[in-house]
């Protein structure tokens, strides 16, 4: 047993750190740290920076632009990216659609769509959830009917993250009503500039616009945009859901957030002493810090198992549950640390170029909105309840 990285891995780690130190604008890192989204331009510029370094799609096959890194190297890259508060490439194209295309797409589809992801031509979003089909995805009702060389799509998708920036959406649509609900679903690539596509914002409880509803009214989609076979889309969707996701443990993001929390709590006063010395608050922070040290090793154990050829299955569900709970807890502690200053609602104070006077400690305006926003972690990406169902079934065999 040896928990340290090899010299090569350590060297790689330093290479990643050096890259971020040299290439990541501090203003971008600040926005990530405070949980404040990037503009579309900023996001695209950052992705171009990563692409130039060759690190935009580490997990893709080398022939398509991947890096050929080991599981451990990928883990190190993810971790250091979080510790640096680096923006992440928008996952929908790079991490979700691409693996499906690589496995089930035609040669023509791969050659067309993958390079366009790399050069920034397309911004993809995901069309899975519907108002009546959340965790129960197979209940989806959006319908595609074959008409000549097109499908005609009608229906509604929801919770579409950053759909306001996207020009393309990959969507699950119903093409057949006979048989089991999971049969008769197809996987379509839809151009969002087509007539009949409407994007409506959903404002989240923190006042932010991150997710959307997408309406399809008689939208025509060329049959060439069907991935794989008609009516077999459920298989492809499921493949995507089991795709490796140790990053769900959010170790890097929690580590960065905890460090910031401690510096905040060291400066806040309670009864004439730093809040960090208050026994109950210190105990809360210590609990989170210990959980995080444990989680970091749990995540590494899963990575090592994958690197050793093991299949990550329900383990990633365990990481997801614990990782999201912990990340939420750290954000709740930051809110708690602010005391009365958790109350002001000043989204403008987070904008670049804000030159008003802040209320409370630096960056206080970000804390409660981020706490509220991160409630999503245990809901989206397969709710933690669904993850516990998976653990019960797969590991516990109950």
């Amino acid at each position: 047993m040896d928990l340290s990285f090899t010299p090569d891995e350590e060297a790689f780690r330093h290479e990643v750190r050096a890259f971020y130190a040299g290439s990541l604008p501090p203003s971008l890192a600040d926005r990530i740290r405070l949980g404040h989204g990037l503009t579309k331009d900023e996001q695209e510029a950052w992705q171009a920076t990563l692409a130039r370094r060759g690190w935009l799609v580490p997990h893709w096959p080398v022939e398509w632009g991947g890096t050929g890194w080991s599981a451990v190297e990928r883990y190190i890259f993810d971790l250091e990216s979080s510790l640096a508060n680096a923006p992440r490439p928008i996952a929908f194209g790079f991490n979700m659609l691409a693996p499906v295309l690589l496995k089930y797409g035609s040669e023509e589809q791969k050659r067309h769509w993958l390079p366009r992801m790399l050069d920034g031509s397309d911004w993809w979003c995901q069309g899975y959830s519907e108002p009546g089909a959340g965790s129960d995805l197979a209940a989806l009702k959006t319908r595609a009917v074959r008409d000549g060389d097109d499908y005609v799509v009608n229906g509604q998708k929801t919770w579409t993250t950053l759909g306001q920036h996207a020009n393309m959406i990959f969507a699950l649509v119903r093409t057949n009503d006979t048989g089991r609900r999971q049969e008769g679903i197809s996987f379509l690539l839809i151009d969002m500039t087509s007539p009949g596509v409407e994007v409506r914002p959903i404002i989240t409880l923190d006042g932010d616009h991150e997710v959307n509803e997408i309406f399809f009214t008689d939208v025509r989609v060329p049959v060439g945009n069907l991935v794989g076979e008609q009516d077999r889309g459920w298989t492809y969707a499921k493949y995507l859901l089991t795709y490796e996701r140790t990053s769900m443990a959010a170790v890097g993001s929690s580590t960065a957030a905890l460090a910031w929390l401690k510096s905040l709590a060291a400066k806040q006063q309670r009864g004439g002493k730093p809040l960090l010395d208050d026994p109950l608050f210190a105990a809360r922070v210590a609990r989170a810090e210990i959980e995080l040290a444990n989680l970091s090793t749990t995540a590494l154990r899963v990575v090592a198992a994958v690197a050793g050829g093991g299949a990550p299955g329900a383990e990633s569900s365990m990481l997801k549950v614990k990782g999201t709970e912990l990340r939420q807890e750290i954000s709740a502690l930051a809110r708690r640390a602010l005391g009365p200053f958790a109350q002001p609602f000043l989204p403008e104070a987070l904008e670049d170029g804000f030159n008003g006077e802040p209320v409370g400690p630096p960056d206080a305006a970000a804390v409660t909105p981020q706490y509220l926003n991160l409630r999503k972690l245990s809901i989206f990406g397969g709710s933690n309840e669904i993850q516990k169902n998976i653990i019960s079934k797969m590991i516990l065999q109950l």
Partner: protein, 375 residues
């Protein structure tokens, strides 16, 4: 032993409930927060006409209530309606004035709804420590000159006066040497910078830069403000706890409705036993919270240590349970629970923010333990 409210209080609750149901839209709260004063003055006048403000004060002060259960009835109804109006500010300032004595005119104006007085006690470096007063008041001839700042002061923009605590002797953290002053919002050297709050309503940062006041601005006895502040905060703690009870009931019912009606995998999601058990646990905690508030209301007019202990017990319970209820409700709602347009989420945010007013659960748990040792 009788757990029913008196007929008078029941009538007040009914009237208030009907009025609130007809007047307010939870979503309007967030909208109103964008501009000062953060609430509808016409509605405030109507509350006064209905006698709701008077219910918060005792007959000696010109009101017709003022007991713990009066405060409980009013604020529980306000919480159930997510009402945004300067009730808490009025209660805090009014109770402090009443405790200090000699301000019958101002209290009468408060009860009539013709004047709002903000309770400008809290300071930025204080956390939740009531004795942390760094703002200073110094004599200049017959005048007082106040210098310092106050943080997250609710309703300061719409107020006629601010009730400001300032130190006339001693050091930051001392119990003694704090005095109360009534400061007109137009006073020269006074800066009120308002902003909206996460849960609706508005608050402000207040700066006093050599604000000069006549001798008559001093409320009560010089250096003797701490007791009045404690009395005000005691009533305020009960009010916040009762408000949370009202909000929790709404969140609970909305969540139950959702569990009963939202279909997934062919059945209502409330059929999931794991969710049922969580909801059952939540229900137990909510009942415990109600008991905590009843205990606090009963203790409000009683002797000091027991009163303070029961208030801290209640605020601790409400802080812990309110956050739990809010977080669980959002989680059990799933995606829709993350949206601004769902009224429930605004009640949930109010519950979360109540833990940041007048001391959070850790503060009151530690305070309870210290009071228990002293008892």
């Amino acid at each position: 032993m009788d757990f029913n409210h008196t007929d008078d209080r029941r009538m007040l609750a009914d009237t208030l409930g009907r009025f609130i149901a007809g007047q307010t839209d939870p979503m309007a709260r967030a909208e109103a927060a964008k501009t000062a004063p953060g609430y509808d003055p016409a509605v405030w006048t109507r509350f006064a006409e209905l006698g709701v403000i008077g219910a918060l004060f005792g007959p000696d002060d010109g009101g017709f209530g003022g007991g713990g259960f009066d405060i409980m009835v009013v604020f529980e109804a306000l919480g159930a309606g997510l009402v945004q109006a300067p009730f808490l500010s009025t209660l805090l300032a009014g109770r402090a004035l009443a405790a200090a004595g000699g301000r019958a005119d101002e209290i009468e104006a408060l009860i009539a709804g013709t004047m709002v007085i903000a309770f400008a006690h809290q300071e930025g470096g204080a956390g939740y420590d009531l004795d942390h007063v760094a703002t200073r008041a110094e004599r200049n001839g017959n005048d007082w000159v106040l210098t310092g700042s106050k943080s997250v002061i609710a309703d300061a923009e719409g107020a006629t006066l601010l009730l400001v605590s300032a130190r006339t002797s001693g050091e930051v953290g001392d119990r003694d040497g704090v005095s109360l002053f009534l400061v007109p919002v137009q006073a020269s050297g006074l800066d009120v910078r308002g902003y909206p709050c996460v849960d609706g309503g508005r608050a402000a940062e207040v700066r006093l830069d050599g604000v000069t006041l006549p001798a008559t601005a001093l409320v009560g006895t010089e250096g003797d403000g701490t007791g009045s502040i404690a009395d005000a905060v005691a009533a305020g703690l009960l009010a916040l706890c009762a408000e949370a009870l009202g909000a929790m009931a709404v969140v609970r019912d909305a969540t139950l409705d959702y569990l009963r009606t939202r279909m997934q995998f062919g059945e209502a999601i409330g059929r999931n036993q794991a969710l049922q058990h969580r909801m059952a646990a939540l229900l137990i905690e909510i009942e415990q919270a109600r008991s905590a508030v009843i205990n606090a209301a009963a203790a409000l007019d009683g002797p000091g240590n027991a009163r303070e202990r029961m208030l801290s017990a209640a605020k601790y319970t409400i802080g812990r349970t309110g956050t739990l209820v809010a977080e669980e409700a959002i989680q059990l709602h799933g995606g829709i629970g993350m949206t601004w347009e769902l009224p429930m989420t605004h009640f949930a945010k109010r519950l979360m923010m109540i833990d940041h007013q007048l001391g959070d659960e850790d503060h009151h748990l530690a305070r309870y333990a210290a009071l228990s040792r002293a008892a």
